[in-house]
């Protein structure tokens, strides 16, 4: 019992003095659900307009054909696949924070993980649209499902593109289930404070949760198993995405470091996106007592770690291109740095390699304004990283007469812009309908109310 006592007293090390009781968490978090401010409506309006641009652009492509995009030989993968990889990467840090840091018992994840997990689900929902857009004839998208064709020939399971279908659909299903299960106790808390129709709504989506010992017992065990399954899953998904490239023989793609390099880059971009989302959330919803400087500093350290891995991977790529002695491989990397798309490469290196090095300074890590600016640089840099890998490599393969250039069309840029609004649309809805901070899990880092403690003091 002595160890249990000290363990209970250690809780509270991470919480703000304003959050001392369990009921404080309910008060502060459920307040967010009750009043949509004017700022929220403005952002929601912008997001809706962007979603309109997204579907208008896609509709144009459906009506007039894939020719309205800039895709052609030799660059058959452009902005759509770049943006697909970008959004799948963004998703990764949500699972890292919700599952991997859960298994590692990192208590700072508690206040941020709900928002990060929501980001994961919506980012995969965004990413999942891009293969459908990219295939052009979207009404044949069901061909992605593994079933035998009219001549009873099955898909080729040796193809990384088929692996990708399995990886991304599994990732979406598992992260959505994990996200929803985690919210159930908090939906019950929302139900108990709501009235009328909202109460009925929360009662149904909380599945009638009551918080009994039987429910909590199986829930907490199931949560551990789901986290244990999600951990290898998140590492596998971006590895499989990287094999879409690495399994081919295109110079600049065909390397064995791609899987770890992509996974590190994914977590890097995802943590940056969490910071980009958490800074305004903290301010608008007055969650300063929950998302403290300590939380941001921990995320900044994660960013710094992954930034150095990514920078190391960039240098390894260049070194191996030179060391291989292969003219096409050397040519591909020379083209990256000094060819037609030199600017994309240098944006990538600046935003992902140099700017995050500022995070070595503690003052930068503890400044929320600085982190917000750096996180936006990283978001831009990581989009360009995928653009550099995909477009410059395809534009400069083996035969000089097969080299070519690619220029994104207005339709492609509309879909790229619209994808951010589509993501924002879902995220804004989330902040209004579901508790954006995990209420029950926040209580785990608050010292529990003890009768014995009162007598002792």
């Amino acid at each position: 019992m002595a160890t249990a006592e000290s363990e209970l007293r250690r809780r509270g090390a991470l919480t703000h003095p304003d959050v001392g009781k369990y009921s404080d968490v309910n008060r502060d978090v459920l307040k967010v659900l009750s009043r949509p401010g004017r700022g929220w409506w403005v952002l929601f309006g912008i997001a809706l307009a962007g979603v309109g641009i997204f579907f208008l652009s896609w509709f144009t492509q459906i009506v007039r054909g894939i020719g309205v995009s800039g895709l052609n030989a030799p660059v058959g993968w452009g902005v759509y696949i770049t943006t697909f990889v970008f959004w799948v990467g963004i998703a990764h840090s949500g699972t890292l924070i919700s599952a991997i840091l859960f298994l590692f018992r990192a208590p700072w994840r508690q206040s941020i993980y709900r928002a990060a997990e929501a980001m994961t689900v919506f980012a995969v929902m965004t990413a999942g649209l891009f293969p459908l857009i990219h295939v052009g004839r979207v009404w044949y998208a069901y061909w992605l499902v593994p079933y035998p064709n009219s001549r009873f020939l099955w898909p080729n399971f040796r193809s990384p593109l088929v692996w990708d279908v399995f990886a991304v659909t599994t990732y979406f299903t598992v992260s959505a289930v994990f996200f929803y299960l985690g919210t159930i106790p908090d939906l019950a808390a929302a139900r108990d404070q709501a009235r009328g129709l909202r109460k009925k709504f929360y009662h149904v989506i909380a599945l009638g949760w009551r918080g009994t010992d039987r429910e909590w017992h199986h829930f907490s065990k199931a949560y551990i198993y789901l986290a244990a399954l999600a951990t290898p899953l998140v590492l596998s998904v971006h590895s499989v995405v990287s094999w879409d490239f690495a399994m081919s023989i295109v110079p600049g793609w065909h390397t064995t470091i791609f899987a770890p390099y992509f996974v590190a880059g994914a977590i890097f971009s995802g943590v940056a996106m969490v910071i980009t989302l958490a800074v305004p959330m903290r301010k608008f919803f007055r969650l300063e007592a929950y998302l403290t400087v300590k939380h941001f500093e921990a995320m900044a350290k994660l960013c710094l770690l992954t930034a150095t891995i990514v920078l190391y991977a960039y240098m390894t790529e260049y070194f191996l291109a030179w060391y291989s002695g292969e003219p096409p491989e050397r040519g591909s990397f020379w083209n990256r740095a000094f060819g037609h798309y030199w600017w994309a490469n240098w944006i990538m290196l600046t935003c992902n390699g140099l700017v995050p090095l500022m995070l070595w300074f503690k003052r930068v890590r503890r400044s929320i304004a600085a982190l917000f600016v750096i996180s936006i640089f990283i978001n831009i840099g990581m989009w360009f990283e995928r653009f550099v890998i995909i477009v410059t490599s395809l534009s400069h393969e083996y035969e000089p007469w097969a080299w070519g250039l690619y220029r994104p069309s207005v339709v492609e840029m509309g879909i790229l812009l619209g994808s951010f609004c589509w993501f924002g649309f879902w995220f804004l809805l989330f902040t209004r309908l579901l508790p954006p901070v995990a209420i029950a899990e926040m209580k785990e880092v608050i010292p529990p109310p003890m009768r014995g403690a009162k007598e002792a003091s």
């Binding site: 249990a4 209970l8 009781k21 369990y22 009921s23 309910n26 593994p146 035998p148 009873f152 020939l153 099955w154 399971f157 040796r158 088929v162 692996w163 399995f166 990886a167 599994t170 299903t173 598992v174 994990f178 299960l181 159930i184 106790p185 019950a188 808390a189 139900r191 108990d192 404070q193 149904v204 599945l207 009638g208 949760w209 009551r210 918080g211 010992d213 039987r214 429910e215 909590w216 017992h217 199986h218 829930f219 907490s220 065990k221 199931a222 198993y225 789901l226 399954l229 290898p232 899953l233 596998s236 499989v240 094999w243 029950a440 209580k443 785990e444 109310p449 003890m450 009768r451 014995g452």
Partner: protein
């Protein structure tokens, strides 16, 4: 229909009194009572109620193994069903199929975990919220006991001994 039992809902402000009350109830041989908490408090679950293992793990394991077997069987069977050599690779390209089997292990394992959770915790539970107190999702703990008529006084005294913030009595006890 009267069950011949009386229901007690005791609301506690403190974690330690809830744990002690659960221990006392168990010591007296009461089985069908429920403790309520606003968080997954493992001290309450393990010390107070003696809960250790959950059968959910069997579901996870069974789901994962089924997924792995399905993934390998599906890819191998479809390859053998129409043997077509592509890229000079063997008809049964096991390393490539590991990726599919791996993803299906995770998918089936996760879905089976959810099914196991729902079966074991009896969710979704849309029966009327009788044995419940809305404070239990906020800042308080609770215990619900459906005591047989002969033991009602004993249970009432026991719960009162731990100084509940509120003790509600229902003329009828429910299975919870």
């Amino acid at each position: 229909m009267s069950s011949g039992r009386q229901g007690f809902f005791a609301l506690f402000e403190h974690l330690d009194s809830t744990i002690e009350a659960c221990k006392a109830l168990r010591a007296k041989g009461h089985k069908g009572f429920r403790a309520y908490a606003p968080l997954p408090e493992h001290h309450l679950l393990e010390e107070g109620l003696g809960l250790t293992h959950s059968p959910v793990r069997v579901f996870t394991l069974a789901g994962g193994l089924t997924g792995a077997a399905t993934g390998f069987a599906f890819t191998s069977w479809t390859s053998v069903d129409w043997p077509l050599i592509t890229g000079g690779k063997p008809i049964l390209s096991i390393p490539a199929y590991v990726v599919i089997a791996f993803e299906m292990t995770i998918l089936f394992g996760a879905l089976a975990t959810v099914i196991g959770l729902f079966i074991n915790s009896r969710l979704p539970n849309f029966s009327p919220m009788v044995a419940y107190h809305p404070e239990c999702s906020n800042g308080s703990f609770g215990i619900y006991v459906a005591a047989p008529a002969g033991q009602a006084n004993e249970v009432r005294d026991l719960l009162k001994g731990f100084e509940p913030a509120e003790l509600r009595e229902d003329p009828e006890g429910f299975d919870v």
